[in-house]
Amino acid sequence: MSALAGIADLPDRGVVVCCGSGGVGKTTTAAAIALEGARRGRRACVVTIDPAKRLADALGLEALTNSPGKIDGDWPGELWALMLDTKSTFDNLVTRYAANPEQAEGILRNGLYRNISGALSGTQEYMAMEKLYELQEAGRFDLIVVDTPPTRNALDFIDAPRRLTRLLDNRIFRLLIMPTRAYVKAVSFATQAFLRTVSKVIGGQVVSDAVAFFQAFEGMEQGFRERAQHVMALLSDPGTAFVLVASPRRDAVDEALFFAEKLLESDIGVDALVVNRLHPPFGEGAVDRDRGALYANLADFRDIAAREEHHFAALAEKVAPSPVARVPFLADDVHDLEGLRTVGGHLFATA
């Protein structure tokens, strides 16, 4: 059976999340899965985070766009792609949940908000998931494939939607913006003293921005919290498949094992494993290196292929019985649809 058959044949409105550490080929894998979906007649969309320039060009992603662009080709389905614009995705979210345009404006102009939308660690993860949810809700596509930012910890993006609500729930600031109730007042006094100390270190402007931010957000947390719950629900939905992407080197495998562990712990699990950049084995068995360069070279390749197989086996076992796809070292970097088709050929190869 074909390695990742189940992935491209997900039920209608299926979602595929490609995760893994940096430099292992997540973006390429995500794009190749979406292309395969289109070739199987589905309306597929790939959400990319930081594609290499030539691949971005090939997918028609010259600039950050928050709406998908269509890529024409000779497939029965449709292929769409978009490159995530974290900041404007966040801005849209604020505008959606604000009670009125004034509230939205107040937040969008706030210094702390600008920092959150641009720099809060986890914002990119959060917005990738948010965009996924938005596209899925709209129902325009029947296969959405998302690339994820290179985080070390899988929980960073599973948890990302919750991070903002945690920030909004911050006790100190909540107390600070509700100084009217008598019992809070006493606490608030200590809080004020605390904030004065913080101001000394980071400057009063920052603290007053923070206070203004929490005041501006007043009443919107509930909307955000519910939205975060929907996103979480989508991630743990059976129609959402997690594809773990790795390379067969020891350190990358260790990171992938850690990733898989976290996904399993959070009851999400790994639905498929993709291992990129495998050396071809050129047969197997011991080779007498002393018979000259040709033999030493063959011995080198058999040796490294065996080592890679060994690391890879540990990972495959971890995610068993999920299917595993192997992608060998390719002659060229993938920077066009032809390259993606080649990768797809390996991912969906019939064995």
Partner: protein
Amino acid sequence: MDPAGFCTQARVLIVAGKGGVGKTTVTAALARMAAQAGLTTLIVEVEGKSGLGSAFGRATPLTYEEVTLAPGGGPDGAADVRARTLTPDDALIEYLRDHGMKRVSKRLTSSGAIDVVATAVPGIKDILVLGKVKSLERSNSADLIILDAPAAGHAVTFLMSAHGLLDAVRVGPIRSQAQEVIELLTDASRCQILLVTLPEETPVNEVVETAFKLEDRVGVSLVGVVVNGLYPEVDGLDADPGDVPEAAELRAAAAFRRARHDLQVTQVARLAEALPLPQIHLPFLFTTEVGPAEVDVLARALAESITRLPDPAVSTSS
């Protein structure tokens, strides 16, 4: 250029590159080479990764407390390789403690306000990490301090943080900290950046882009670029294996090696054209894990490649 001279151009050497290019391996090899040249070396790791420890045969992860990864001494008179982590949270707590705000630091962490502060002032954590590196530099804690910079596109942001912070924070101790960090980063006699890449198309494009950003926006001095994972050149791969049972495999393996090698040569040339920096070449090791033996091999290769570099022109800055 001799390896000791290379390692003493500045006390702080920041190793930067995208994920998956072997930055941590290069950091380990560089530390080993410096120690073999008699320089006490301290590796500072900021992401809590396990790779550095295992490169020196250490089973447990690094800690905030400094540990000796490879003791010096021995017939070659090597110096110690020490290492520590320096995560942003640790750096913030230490900063507050050192500035008489120990009680606040507890409250900051327990209340979650630390997240608010870090969000309100993006880059504050990076500044504290770099500020700590600066104080390690000032206290002469080692002859060479190697900072394994954050991976992915974060290196530029990480090093840019001080500039961003000066815009956001107008007064106070954090501002002066940021100014001191900028002084360190922009002083070529105190701090240099070593880039790492692979001889492949995308990594080459990315390292070129990073190099220009770092020079233009951060004003740092780039000491060179390490091209990691080059297939060593082997003679005799064109030979005809003759009529042996494994002839097909021998030919296929040789052809694969030649093809990869040719691709790499093309990319190395492309890099040389796009980026006028000294290139340091490291071989591809036919192994999947890096331990002390591999680090030694790479340290030797690094030393050989550096020895082949011309001596740097005498600095014209006063």
